[in-house]
């Protein structure tokens, strides 16, 4: 089983290697433009690149309709799902490491500093938390949709669900504003105060733990959905 898991991870890298070899350096170079102006923009840009890297294998598999191929090998479907989650985790960790390294290196060179915002030049704890939230959270929410309905139909349903939640949030915001309150601001202030009280290290650790728990729940849901899907 362990051998098959490693083989599936190696497969992931093998099928997307051209994208990694070309895409990753371009991504890192392009990100410098953002880093020059705004740390928030830099983190958002790298988060989208990371999500793409994490899902690249899924997209390639869907393109060549590989689901029945892997389901006909002597491996359990749960292992296929586990390998995909593991790959996503590795992609997030790798990219976090790279962007921390890149921002530090550029600061050390003293040539690039964010000007348009009051954020620091290097990636701090709150930016790392933001990066993790912007990558792991949507992936954890999306993957069960993918394993239940396939990539295309799953993405469509996930988008509809996301729009639905956004509309509900906007509605709640409007109601709150009419009542003289601003719930989004209140939530933001609350989270900031929690982070300040806990300190940066504990905040990052807590976020990582919460996201890991969410990832586990998401993975269990995906196991269940994929095991029952007709391929």
């Amino acid at each position: 089983m362990q051998r098959s898991l490693w083989a599936l991870l190696a497969k992931e890298l093998r099928v997307i290697r051209i994208g990694v070899v070309i895409g990753l350096p371009i991504n890192l170079l392009q990100a410098i433009t953002f880093l020059k102006w705004d740390m928030l923009g830099y983190v958002s840009y790298m988060a989208s690149g990371t999500s793409l890297l994490a899902l690249a294998g899924t997209i390639v598999d869907d393109r060549f309709r590989m689901d029945p191929f892997f389901a006909s090998l002597p491996i359990r479907r749960e292992l296929v799902v586990a390998a995909r989650y593991l790959w996503c985790g590795l992609a997030i960790a790798l990219m976090l490491g790279l962007i921390i390294g890149e921002s530090r290196a550029l600061e050390a060179l003293g040539i690039l500093r964010p000007r348009a915002s009051a954020l620091p030049a290097t990636l701090g704890a709150s930016e790392a938390v933001l990066f993790l939230l912007a990558t792991a959270l949507p992936l954890s929410l999306f993957l069960p949709f993918h394993y239940r309905w396939g990539l295309g139909a799953g993405a469509a349903r996930f988008s509809m669900a996301a729009v639905g939640v956004a509309l509900l949030g906007a509605g709640a915001g409007l109601v709150g504003r009419a009542a003289g309150r601003r719930p989004a601001v209140a939530i933001g202030l609350f989270l900031q105060s929690v982070m300040a009280a806990l300190g940066p290290a504990v905040s990052v650790l807590l976020t990582v733990l919460l996201l890991a728990a969410l990832g586990c729940v998401s993975c269990l849901l995906s196991f269940r959905f994929y095991a029952r899907r007709d391929l």
Binding site: S4, R14, V15, V60, F64, P68, S72, L73, P74, L231
Partner: protein, 286 residues
Amino acid sequence: MELALEIRGLCKAYPGFRLEDVAFSVPRGYIMGLIGANGAGKTTIIKLVMGLIRKDAGCVRILGEDHDGREAHLRERIGFVHETPAFYNHLTVSAMRGIVAPHYDRWDDGCFLLLAEEFELPLHKKVGTLSKGTRTKLALALALSHHAELVVMDEPTSGLDPVVRRRLLGKLQELIGDGATSVLFSTHITSDLERVADYVTCLHRGKVVFFSTRDEVRDRWAMVKGPPDRAGEAVGESYYGMRRGEVGFQVLTSNAVEARRRFGDGVLVEPATLEDIMYYLGRSAS
């Protein structure tokens, strides 16, 4: 007789299609052909055997073991060739081997290289550049390189030229030569089955019409051809798909002995081909 595959009471329903109470078995060391028109349920049965879809009811036993919950373990002993083999088109033949091989305990690289040579597979060429025939040969080489005891193939010969088809069929006969390997393959090219199948299962609209040895099919099923005035005698449950013309009639029967007795010398009763059976059964149902 030891069975490589045993299916009993297998059911699966889709919107607009229903596989009903399918039962047949493949003895070890033999080739079983699944025939039926498009939409008869051949691919559904093969997907159920491979565990790609979930059954609604019934039992599948592979190489003496119950299929339920052990699909992954049993696939170690099965070689599977999909109707349209899926590969990563941007990878080479050799890289595809590298993706499949680590998942099998009994993978034999030497065997793969021998098959690659026999099938003239270009190891360093990208899969996307291969013809349909070569892709099928690659799928077959991958399916046979872990010493599978049961080889399952879904329409492996469709779209192949006659030369490649004959070689593939020859390979199947070679495979069962050891007396331990068995083959289940579906096709709607009936001449392929006439050539190699030991057993035949005929499906029509999700139901098994018959399951028997090739020789039994030849003995039991016949075409009855005679003058128009005797067409009315071909009445009963064993007659299918009557065709009447100005010069005569043709009908399929599942009881050749009875037909010979009934019609005597004035009517021709000759063995039916599998194509005749498929055609007249389809005609009868419509």
